[in-house]
Amino acid sequence: MELLKADHITMQFGGLTAVKDFNLSLNQGEIVALIGPNGAGKTTAFNMITGVYRPTQGEIDYNGKNITGLRPDQITALGIARTFQNIRLFKDLSVFENVLIANHLHLKSNFLEATFRLPRYRREEREMRETSLNLLEKVGLADLRDEKSSSLPYGKQRRLEIARALATKPQILLLDEPAAGMNPKETEDLTQFIKKIGHEFNLTIFMIEHHMQVVMGISDRIYVFDHGVTIAEGNPYEIQNDQKVIEAYLGVAEEDA
């Protein structure tokens, strides 16, 4: 079942076209990757889908509803969550608080109910705390819950960011270079981790990634970007053998002199 569809979306910044005519389709339960050389426009594509940028052209539909140009908080409320290329945790807050905050959008009590600790709020707060703690246990960070999030080692920060995104109860999870800066062991752990949460939380995952082991290891489909244009789309085997993809990454072979 198609969850998300991006139809010919284009992003122009003044004279620069960062993304041109991107067509994306995400089906329920898939793990889809977006790869391409640096500066190809991948994060820009993410930003269009999550509402950080408004596409200059084109339309994005989610569950049949047009979400083009909605604010990021509205899009998250609808069920699309994301992580960031440069980890954007709430640095001065604890691990637990980072995840707790991501529950806020589901809160039904208003601020007066919250301030005066009325019964409905007390119940909601208790539920949020339980949910957050469970989430931290599932990702293996529960024992660090009172630590300041910026004090965590890099790999755990990444996992925390993912846990935080999961707390918003998304259907689709967008991961921006989750394996960035990781060594082979960490990358392998992360790959398994992504597969696990995909199943456990019934997620559709769309990720930008450079580490080919992650990409080829778990993706159902792959899109390839170069200079803002989609140059290839297909399953891992097709992409590995696609001539255009090879050229984009390695350059064209020189003719013998």
Partner: protein, 348 residues
């Protein structure tokens, strides 16, 4: 009842008893200073909600105070006093006879200030950092200019005199306690966490589903509400107000308080409100000069303020975290007990 609640209630009772004794026994000069301390607690904590906890650089607090001060003054002044005040240009007819007891007058002042915050916030809260600072500073000034020019409502530059002296230690400390408890509860709720998230990283907060505008407006309006109440208490303490009282100097003093105390700490704001208010009185000799025995040391007008501005520079350059940083006083920390499991409501 939870242990913490009992402790808080006991402290409030102790505070009430202390106020009773102070009221009976201390001279009026010292009582006045204590009243000012309590009022500045309200002002500092409410400004810290906006600036320190939500990370909005708002410099318009004096404007909200002015709204509260004038509203409360006009609502509590008896008709005869109003006629006396508005001798140049008569007061607008409906306001002449409008009268409320002190408590509702204060609340109306607070609500009006919150409403003004809503009007200002709508255009201004979309701005970032420096621009927000200048815009709020500007609005603070606009309010002051408006008050100076609306003779029929505010008596213009003449100001209001003979405002009923209804503020006393019970009112000021009572409201100070209410403000601190309200804002502390707000900060420790999910909404408070959302505000802190906005302060930490707006983009991330938004991506976690937090409606930036709505929450910034919430912080802004609540802060303005308490500023209005503080202003109302101040007006009815001093007995006289005029638009020039509410210039940016006032906001700068509040800024000094929240920075000295630590921008993310309610406890810090309370402490520094007391310190600065008392220091302002104690250092009065710098301006007025002093006599030790037969030796008279002259004062220089403005020297006191030089000391305060130098203090502000020192704190911001060398002690960015202020006294408390983002640390708070809590019963748990004081009594060093092990914390309750997080899932059941223990503090994180």
């Amino acid at each position: 009842m939870k242990r913490n609640t009992i402790l808080t209630l006991i402290s409030l009772a102790i505070l009430a008893i202390a106020i009773y004794f102070i009221d009976q026994n201390l001279d009026s000069y010292k009582v006045r200073i204590l009243n000012l301390c309590a009022i500045y607690v309200i002002l500092a904590v409410s400004m810290n909600l906006i600036n320190g906890f939500t990370g909005l650089f708002s410099l318009g607090h004096a404007g909200f105070m002015a709204v509260g001060a004038y509203t409360t003054a006009i609502l509590t002044m008896p008709q005869a006093v109003k006629l006396q005040n508005f001798f140049m240009v008569p007061i607008a007819k409906p306001l002449e006879t409008l009268n409320l007891p002190f408590l509702p007058a204060l609340f109306v002042g607070g609500l009006l200030a919150a409403f003004v915050a809503f009007l200002i916030g709508a255009p201004v809260l979309r701005l970032k950092g420096d621009y927000l600072a200048i815009a709020t500073l500007g609005f603070g000034e606009i309010i002051r200019v408006i008050f100076t020019n609306t003779q029929t409502i505010t008596n213009g530059a003449l100001g209001l005199k003979s405002i009923p002296n209804t503020s006393n230690l019970w009112w000021t400390f009572g409201f100070a306690a209410f403000t601190v408890i309200f804002i502390a509860f707000l900060i420790n709720s999910s909404y408070g966490r959302a505000l802190k998230a906005i302060r930490e990283d707006e983009t991330a907060a938004q991506s976690m589903g937090i409606n930036l505008f709505k929450h910034k407006m919430l912080s802004f309006m609540v802060g303005a509400f308490f500023a209005g109440i503080g202003g109302g208490l101040l007006g009815n303490l001093l007995g006289t107000i005029d638009p020039n009282m509410f210039r940016f100097f006032l906001t700068y003093n509040l800024l000094l308080m929240i920075i000295l105390g630590g921008m993310g700490s309610i406890t810090g704001s309370i402490i520094s409100a007391f310190i600065i208010t008392i220091a302002t009185e104690v250092l009065r000799f710098l301006d007025d000069g002093m006599t030790i025995g037969s030796l008279t040391i002259p004062g220089i007008t403005g020297l006191r303020m030089v000391v305060f501005s130098a203090l502000l520079m020192i704190v911001v350059l060398f002690f960015t975290q202020g006294l408390m940083g983002t640390k708070e006083f809590t019963w748990n920390k004081l009594l060093n007990r092990s914390q309750k499991p997080l899932a059941k409501g223990g503090r994180s």
